[in-house]
Each structure stands twice: as structure tokens, then as C-alpha cells.
């Protein structure tokens, strides 16, 4: 057999191994042993000093989540604890296992998405309080738990350009009735199949779009596709700075469909007592408007996540 053919075969085997590894470990494609994690584990073995165990706040690979992680860490530091931030550790599938392993102790999360992830199923519940309660049940007996949810939410929304909104007189989701079949909708692959994705819009609003185009999860591909007209309707997140920056129109839900996504701290049970009071205070102060403003500061004004977090902490007495 030729050398190159052998190499290709080798690559095939490696791919297979990685794939099977992913699937069998319950979906953990990005998990990797991180040095920081090792250091944390080592530190937590040592004697606790001053403000208790050193806390590692993780974040997923998502701007808003990074800012929130810095807010959590800053708030803990203001209470005399030692807290570090591990930024952009991957997606939820990769980061939640790090909490289970103790590599990180705190993670800013979103109630609905976290519940769907932990319950390993599709959730159809639009009441924030019910979702928060279910989340608490779901984490019962695990190595992690959730603290108080904040009123700040970052929910999935349908967005159109100002021109599309004016041309079709669109303000709420049900206004899409009658025009949806001429519009192309774009979003991540899961939008096509989730019960609160396209099947939900058909069920609750009777909407059938002309075409679904897979873009990404409210990232540059979706935004660029919307702005240059490749798609007419985009699935974005409600606190994204781009909505204001590009004068986009968010279609309000007149029939509740999307999961509530309250910002909520996910913490290891080992540090729960130590961090609960402080992080609950953060939750009680945080609002959706602040989230949007901080995202705008990060994405439009290119401010540093730590500076944005410090400013918020100073404004709220931490």
C-alpha cells in the first residue's frame, strides 16, 4: 500500500476514534485537560487561606458570557476571595463537564438552555419561574447547583432588517403570517429541528418559511447573511449589540414560544456556601438592559471585558 494511502487511512481511523469518543462520553467534543484546570485542582487541595478556597470562574466562547464571568469573579474578589477567570473554554457541552471535574467552580449560565442541556431533552416551558424550579430539581444530587436567577435574560429572537420590517409591516412574530412563505430564515442547524425552533413557529403561529438556510448561532455568518439579503429573517439573541448598531427590528413574541433564558450562576456544590451570597447579590442587580449595554460596549466600542465588568461592579456597590 502506498504511503499516502496509509496516511489517509490513519486519518480516517483517528477521525473515527475521535467521533466515537465524542459520542460515547455523552457529547464532550471540546473537553480537554487544561493546565489551568490542573492548577486549580492543585490549589483546591492546599489549605484555604483568607477568603476561602480560590474560585475559578469559567466562561463559554461567547462575548456576553465572558463579561459575566468577569463580573462574577470581580464580585467575589470584592468580598476578599481569590477568583480567576478562564475565558472561552468552548461550548456548553465542553464547559459543564469541567464543573463536574472541579476544574472550574462557577459558570454564568442561562436557565432555559442549561435546563434543556441537563435534562438531555427538549423543553417546552415559557414561564421563567417554572424553568428555574425545574433547573433546581435537575441539579439535585449532582456535584453542581444553581443559585438565584437574575431578571436579566438573553432569549432567542427573530430579527429582520428595518427595510424588511417596513416593507411588510412587521412588529410582532404573528405579523409574519402571510409573508413568511416568501421569506428565507437563517439560523443554526438546531433551529430547524428544535420544538421551539421552526416546528414551534409553525405550531404556535402557523408560519412556514420559504426556505431555511443554515448559518450559525447568531454569529458573523448569520449577521452578514441578513445584512446582505441572503436571508430575510435571522435568529439572533435579544441582547446582541448588532441589533442596535444596524437598526435591526426584533419581532416580539405575541404567543410565548421561546424558553426563558435568565442569567443564573451554575456553581460546584463544594463552593456553594462560600459564593452564594455574593453571586445572588449580582443576580439581584443584573438587568437585561445592562446586558445589552455591556454587549454594546464590548462589540461596538471595543472595550475590554474586564473594564466593562469593573465598571458594572463599581456602579452596583461591589
Amino acid at each position: 500500500m502506498r504511503l499516502r494511502t496509509l496516511r489517509v487511512l490513519g486519518a480516517l481511523c483517528a477521525t473515527l476514534l475521535v467521533m466515537t469518543g465524542c459520542a460515547s462520553s455523552g457529547g464532550d467534543p471540546l473537553a480537554q485537560p487544561s493546565e489551568a484546570g490542573g492548577a486549580t485542582a492543585g490549589a483546591s487541595d492546599g489549605a484555604s487561606e483568607g477568603g476561602g478556597e480560590p474560585i475559578t470562574v469559567g466562561s463559554v466562547d461567547f462575548n456576553e458570557n465572558v463579561i459575566l464571568a468577569h463580573i462574577y469573579a470581580g464580585a467575589l474578589e470584592s468580598e476578599g476571595m481569590t477568583a480567576t477567570v478562564e475565558e472561552r473554554l468552548g461550548n456548553r457541552e465542553a464547559v459543564v463537564p469541567l464543573i463536574e471535574r472541579g476544574d472550574i467552580n462557577v459558570l454564568p449560565e442561562y436557565s432555559g438552555a442549561l435546563l434543556a442541556f441537563l435534562a438531555e431533552g427538549e423543553i417546552e416551558e415559557t414561564d421563567p419561574q417554572v424553568v428555574a424550579d425545574q433547573l433546581r430539581e435537575q441539579t439535585d444530587g449532582e456535584d453542581y447547583t444553581v443559585l438565584e436567577a437574575s431578571e436579566a435574560q438573553d432569549v432567542d429572537v427573530l430579527v429582520v432588517t428595518r427595510e424588511t420590517a417596513e416593507a411588510n409591516d412587521l412588529q410582532v412574530v404573528s405579523d409574519l403570517e402571510g409573508v413568511a412563505d416568501q421569506l428565507v430564515i437563517g439560523g443554526p442547524a438546531e433551529l430547524e429541528t428544535r420544538p421551539n425552533g421552526l416546528p414551534g413557529y409553525e405550531r404556535e403561529y402557523g408560519l412556514q418559511f420559504a426556505e431555511f438556510r443554515t448559518t450559525d448561532a447568531a454569529g458573523p455568518v448569520t449577521i452578514e447573511s441578513l445584512l446582505n439579503g441572503d436571508i430575510d429573517v435571522a435568529r439572533l439573541f435579544s441582547t446582541q449589540a448588532i441589533i442596535e448598531a444596524e437598526d435591526l427590528v426584533v419581532l416580539e413574541e405575541d404567543v410565548p414560544l421561546q424558553l426563558p433564558q435568565q442569567v443564573i450562576p451554575l456553581v460546584s456544590t463544594s463552593v456553594e456556601d462560600q459564593v452564594a451570597e455574593t453571586l445572588n447579590r449580582v443576580s439581584s442587580e443584573l438587568t437585561t438592559e445592562q446586558l445589552t449595554a455591556m454587549n454594546s460596549a464590548f462589540e461596538n466600542d471595543k472595550e475590554d471585558a474586564t473594564d466593562i465588568a469593573e465598571e458594572w461592579l463599581a456602579d452596583h456597590g461591589f
Partner: protein, 236 residues
């Protein structure tokens, strides 16, 4: 369901073999992106490599520049080109061409440059002009190595063309990205397996093409031809 069973079930489902999201269509799209990119890359790199090898000027500079280009992640180029040019074939083609040029360029240059000085002297002694030397001596002599470059590029391109799915196009990457998003890991694995099979098939097809386009007198001396190795080993 166990992992292997899930993958087999995915392949066994007839729904995955028809329609716009069926395997035949996705394979055809994938091959389309690859063919376009490899063809464009060959059209750029082959003449350039021959000219550089023939004249012997600026060769190492050109190769270093094209190799340095390989350090840029293809993913970054795809996304950047998408943001600049918008949806369509352009972003993925630009990225794949940049990926495919260096192996072809380097191999062509090295092959032409490495032709025995005496053969050139003989060709010139027979009265050949520069262009004739290129066409009748250098390109045929260099062909096995040039084709090796094309094969290397093509296999890389087949594996990397999965990124087309990231910028709203189709191809086999669709299974990988959609499967990850929808958490259908059997579909992700199926996509990866299809890509690997396609890469092997392309490699095999091009090795046949390589034999076909290599001058008869050079075929038996191909260093990686197992039949040739066996033939020389047999008398002993």
C-alpha cells in the same frame, strides 16, 4: 443506542440517500467545490512552478511565500472571505485554492529544477528552444512529482471542503455542522466517514490519472509504485 449501531442505522436509513440533503447530492456538491478549487490551484501553481523551475529565478522566494500562506488557518480565510464577499462559492474556493497551491507549486518547482543538467544539455544540443525544452523534456520528466503534489492538495482539499457548510453552502460538512448543532452525533460521524472515503477515492483516482499522464518510459521508475518494486525484486 451504541455508537457503531447509530452510525450504521444512519447509513441504512433510505431518507438519507435522496433529496437535497441526501448523500448523493452532498457528495456531488462536495466534489464540485473540490474540483473547482483544485483545478484553479493547478492552473495557478503548475505554470508558475514550471516557469520558476525553468528559469531558476525567484523560486525559493515564491515557495516560501506560498508556504507561509499555509500558516493562515483555512477557517479564518473562509470566514474573512465570507464577510468580504458574502455568500456563494467564492469564500470557500479562495480558501481551498490557497490551501492547494503550495504542494503543487513546490513539487513542480523542485521537479523541474531537479532535472539532470545533462538532459537539458542534450535537449539543447538537439536544437530545442526554451519552450520546446519545457514542453518536451521538463514537464514530462517532472510529471510524477507534479501529480504527487496535485494528489496531496486534492486530499487536503477534500477534507477541508467541509468548511463550505460553515458559510451556508452544502457538501459533506453539512452533516458534520448540522449533526453537531442538532446533537445527532451519528450524523457527525457519518459525515466524517463519508469525507474520509471520498478522500481515499480521490487519492486512488488521481493515482490512476498520474500513471496515465506519466510518459511511458518513466512509469517503471516511479518510486512509490509497488508493482515496479515487485518487478525489480522478482529476479532475485
Amino acid at each position: 443506542m451504541n455508537v457503531l449501531g447509530g452510525i450504521l442505522a444512519w447509513f441504512a436509513d433510505p431518507a438519507h440517500w435522496s433529496g437535497a440533503d441526501g448523500v448523493p447530492v452532498r457528495v456531488a456538491e462536495h466534489l464540485g467545490y473540490c474540483l473547482l478549487a483544485t483545478a484553479v490551484a493547478t492552473l495557478i501553481a503548475l505554470p508558475l512552478g514550471v516557469i520558476l523551475g525553468h528559469t531558476g529565478k525567484g523560486g525559493s522566494l515564491a515557495i516560501n511565500v506560498s508556504n507561509a500562506g499555509r500558516a493562515i488557518p483555512t477557517f479564518g480565510i473562509v470566514l474573512l472571505a465570507f464577510l468580504v464577499a458574502g455568500a456563494g462559492l467564492l469564500p470557500i474556493t479562495v480558501a481551498l485554492v490557497l490551501l492547494a497551491v503550495p504542494p503543487i507549486l513546490t513539487n513542480t518547482y523542485v521537479a523541474v529544477r531537479g532535472i539532470d543538467r545533462e538532459l537539458r544539455d542534450a535537449a539543447e544540443g538537439m536544437g530545442m528552444y526554451g519552450w520546446q525544452v519545457v514542453r518536451q523534456l521538463e514537464v514530462p520528466m517532472a510529471m510524477p512529482l507534479i501529480m504527487a503534489g496535485v494528489r496531496t492538495s486534492a486530499v487536503q482539499v477534500v477534507a477541508t471542503a467541509t468548511l463550505a457548510a460553515y458559510v451556508t453552502l452544502g457538501g459533506l460538512g453539512r452533516y458534520i455542522f448540522d449533526g453537531l448543532g442538532q446533537r445527532v452525533y451519528a450524523e457527525v460521524a457519518a459525515g466524517a466517514i463519508l469525507v474520509a472515503i471520498l478522500a481515499l477515492a480521490v487519492e486512488f483516482g488521481l493515482s490512476k490519472l498520474q500513471t496515465a499522464v506519466t510518459a511511458r518510459g518513466l512509469r517503471s521508475t516511479q518510486r512509490d509504485d509497488p508493482l515496479a518494486a515487485k518487478a525489480t525484486a522478482a529476479p532475485a
